[in-house]
Point group: D3
Chain length 282, copies 6
């Protein structure tokens, strides 16, 4: 579990023993059908995190006051999605066993399935809070059950109906929206009803998964499948702050593909949201 | 009229005979004074259209249910604007004769003149609905009557006073705004009054021309003349949805210059707006 | 004071004698700790200024009606901040002596200190209006008192408590916000209270400094330290228009780093804001 | 076998029946460990092929005089290398059965295995001519037998010792060079001995595989793993011309990753080499 | 003839009266069929010229010792090739009348025709020395006689057979090479025979036109039509040095399209060649 | 001296105690007059080093067999060149005292002065072997004695006449070449005479400094001041291999500015040369 030979996310340089949360990267983008590159997300976030401050004027709190460990990146095989998911599941389980909040940096969205499997094994009633542009509810993608376009369908197979709360969804096949109407709690386009959902989820263990492409591509062009018409940074930030007090038992940030944004603004947005998330959760 | 040797816009692969609408590219940027590149717009839109879905959650309709043919691109001479306009006019006329809705992908904004000439010949009372950052009402540009900065002035010479409804205009010479005050219906900066305009235009044949630089450059940096202070994607989308029910007899989307946005977000925005437009119109 | 061998900002080609305002570039980025490149800002603004119009539909006024001289860029040593500041101070003093409004194009934000020293010497009671994402109130940066992260602290040493009005601040160390609470008038995140500040400042000589990174990185990715969650172009424009009538005795625009935005949209935003500022001030 | 909805490589628009050779794209990069993107290679080559001429002044022959069909791209699953290889093998076998020379556009280098399996089944004594920067002779990569770094090892398992002629190799693990010394005919760094190899191979069925990263990264920066110290374009061209008269029964061009070279020069080099190869082979 | 409001090429800031040579830009790319952008060439060369030195260690001479005037750029209409050529011809004629060596910075290659018309009118027996990747000998391009692909054909109509010496040609249609065999002195691929040509041309008035795409795209990716297999920088430099002593009465450098090379290396190559040319000629 | 929180250069993860050589980054570019960015060099080299192999087929040796420690980067103040040099000198001295070969990764070329001061204090007769495109022999740059354009002049003030051997120089002011003729051993353009120099230097302590812009910009566009006409990668590699057996007591690699080459090829070239240097030296 040592983080040899890595540069940590800013201020996440606590010793493992005393850490309340542990970051790890899951640099996998093996099932991406359109534009790969999310494998470079975790490394870019660590490297660019030194361009933001540790202090949040939104929460008036400072990362320097937290105890977070950064495990570095998992070494994942690109050719085999199932093997990659197993390695992610094992790491997440280990962190949970050690009493750390697992915080995963994707990678494509499929990695959520690995982490959630471990969380669900530990907290059988856990529910999923899902911010995304895409429904990710396909039954399969070109026959492939393990695809970033099908990850929430796989998660639903664990949680059953009503176990997933989706916000911001603005893209999918017609069948995905039909499925959502029957089986998940989906809010399209934005965060209407998030406050109520937070109230419903109070006390329940929650896994939070953030697909960064919920942001408008003007804010985050650095992602594999830019989908116009998304939320602004302030809208996402306000939604994240609303999670304060939830019983979050695991979380991830996915789908930053930094090479598609040479300005670095996308990576800066991802870093700042991670800072705020850590300060909200800990 | 065959579309040999092209890759069509997503789901626009109907046979010509049964198609209700027909796309064609007009990859011309020969009069652009500042930064060329709109010639690459149609090809980029076709290639990247596979990154969006065919289904619209905004309209709950699917491109797969429409019958659209994609003619591919016209082969246009760069050195002669008049020749290019003639070829565009002929293609538009042919599509109108065959009972198809012509949908042109520019290219720079001057191409609108070619298409509108054909539409106006067919529907003499047609009016023009114009979304743009720039007034495009110069009498000429460096002595050139055929310029993308003068295209609406040329269109006005056909329609006469009151024939053009302009929205979103935020840039031009003083003389252009003076001209507009006297001769066109111009709404500056946004879409105030669009609902009323739609009501006025009900039943009248309308040519709709969309210069994508009406969008803020944060949303669409990939254009020849980025003009800060534009509308958001959602504002444009809402405006497009308001066109439902109009008697649109021809339309175009212009001024995507994809090379200026390596992230692909500009092209994605153009593709998504085209999807919504086709679903609104058909 | 001749502007030999330069290409001026659009329509700023008045003769020096009759000019009411004088632009000059301060292409210095020697203390930037994160990503350099602001040295290229003034040249990019001049070169790209021809992509915008001279006429403002917001103010219904035209740059062509003003008399502005463009001095070109100062030649500044990169290795020595103090020397650079001295050259900036001298140039500003000379312009003030000649009765011109000095308009400086940065360069990193430290250049403000040079210009303000000259202004303060001439107008001892001058106050500072500061638009920025960052507080810039550090006492030093890695022991360096002359740093772009400390420039407002240095300015405060001149003006004393209450002399600085800060707007839009969304990033800094905890100590900077504590300092601001005690010593400056800081509005976080946006422009609330700007109208009241303008009322308070009426009649007082004001130095206006605009760090362009107050804009959201979606609007202006081309800057050294992109900080998500900023204001929109329209919000900044509205704020700038609110400065009408203030007794502005000097001003600057800083921190455009054009190489980080290959689309040119960042530079276009900077040019348009400068046009509006000149029209507001003169 | 129809090429619906594609834009062919320049002048490769013959009807299938009369074609002597058939191009197909294998847009797979699922095992790439470092930088993905070779999936975009075939599409880039088709799109940019119109920037070169059909006539070769080197061979004084013209693509217009050949009969080549372009099948478009295979649709390949990214998550499963074995499934992708099977689809490639089937396509290659079908083309061989129909008497066409299969010409595959990668994709990463692993795709060669699929095509060669079909070729080897048809021509059991076939040998392999391999131009590359990398030995590609690992036994596995992170435990994965199907990896672009192991593809020649898999090919060797079919051909046995002496069945592979490698040229230009300048990178690999020590063990790969040891393996080559025992089992393949490897020429390091360049093309010394190619003429002799061509003489040895006369009459034998040969599969030719070209990993474009044999070119120096100055010539072809657009590849996943740039390896400095490669051959010049003229050296590669001369080597290709030396293949005239060989009994080539299948061939591929791999590892163009066009997004890493925004200038388009890499894609132009790939297109020109393909033109010369087609003219040499047919 | 004054150069108001421009930044000159390095050290070309002599007064007009005493200047032996005069630079002017011809920022026209209106007939480019593939990728436009050469219009940005002259401005990029001026701006980046300050990255090279004025002293040549190859010739042991210094630009500072010459007297060169820089006229800035012509303002050319993009829509009309003939009008643009007329303006170029007029400027060249005026410079010749004033006894200055005209040095034109393109722009696409068609601009050569305008300058050569003026030169030929003044020196009826003038011959043309042409360095290029492309033959540029088409009779027309899509029916257009004024095209950058036909410029040498148009020049030949003035000079007649044997009046053009072409070097480095490696691309064209078969018909162009056939035409060259009958009517021009063409050396393919490189500079073999240049020394002999220089000997033949001794004393004759010579117009020298350099299409920068003669350089390999590794050296100059920033051009509209990159053609692999070109000469190295040193080969071009040596060829340029061989022109010492020729009676050059006009010259141009064309087809730098700087946006396609974000590194700036292409522009640096163009600047350095221009420095060497000026030192050779004056 | 611990390397906490860094990602090392490939295979340079030995413990400090047993290491024969120690890498450290000097990410300083504070005196760069043209294009900054060399501060990003060391980090880019570490991050991209995993794209090359540890084994060298040129030397048939492997980095895995060496013992090298990577100290990470020094934290250097950008505003003060003298302070930065002092920190570099201290680090170098400490490594020398501990018996390690210091291997510095720049940064701009001025950093060489800091390291050489320490080396010269330890080995008073040390000479300098200097590979570069630029002479770097100015007395000052805009009055600044500490400039990357003057670094070799400062070094000469320590070594005296004949102490510096320069190779590859192809750019400078006339005065620099005059100075070299009198005071250094300069070989222009390439490596002629390197073998003889190596023979002369046998046994003498040598400091080796490599400015990567000696490479042609086609090979290494990612540098602040690209100078066309440089050596190829193979020429540089051969020259480096010729250093085998020299008594090198310190070395550096400077002037990689990775942001100017988005393809990564420049960084790959720097990494590969560093691998070869380490294998030659240890």
């Amino acid at each position: 579990m040592l983080n040899r030979n890595i540069e940590t996310f800013i201020a996440c340089d606590s010793e493992y023993g005393g850490a309340k949360a542990a970051l790890f990267g899951a640099p996998f983008d093996g099932t991406v059908s359109y534009r790969p590159g999310a494998r470079f997300g975790p490394k870019a976030m660590r490297g660019e995190s030194f361009g933001i401050e540790t202090y949040s004027p939104y929460q008036r709190r400072d990362l320097l006051d937290l105890a977070v460990f950064d495990c570095g990146d998992l070494e994942l095989p690109f050719g085999s999605a199932e093997s990659a998911l197993k390695l992610i599941e094992d790491r997440t389980a280990r962190l949970l066993d050690d009493g750390k909040l697992p915080v995963m940096l994707g990678g494509e969205h499929l990695v959520t399935l690995g982490a959630f499997r471990a969380v669900y094994a530990k907290c059988p009633g856990a529910r999923v809070l899902h911010f995304d542009a895409h429904a990710d509810l396909r039954d399969d993608y070109l026959g492939d059950a393990l695809s970033h376009a099908a990850v929430m369908r796989r998660v639903w197979e664990l949680t059953g109906d009503g176990g997933i709360y989706q916000f911001g969804i603005r893209s999918g096949e017609r069948a995905e929206f039909d499925f959502a109407a029957a089986h998940t709690n989906m809010t399209m386009f934005g965060f209407d009803g998030l406050e109520r959902a937070a109230w419903e989820l109070a006390g329940t263990p929650v896994y939070f998964t953030l697909d960064l492409d919920i942001l408008d591509p003007s804010v985050l062009p650095g992602t594999g499948t830019p989908e116009p018409g998304g939320v602004s940074f302030r809208e996402l930030l306000d939604a994240v702050l609303m999670l304060k007090g939830l019983n979050v038992v695991g979380l991830d940030i996915c789908e930053l593909s930094p090479h598609y944004d040479q300005s670095g603004a996308s990576t800066a947005a991802a870093c700042k949201i991670l800072r705020e998330l850590l300060l909200v959760m800990l």
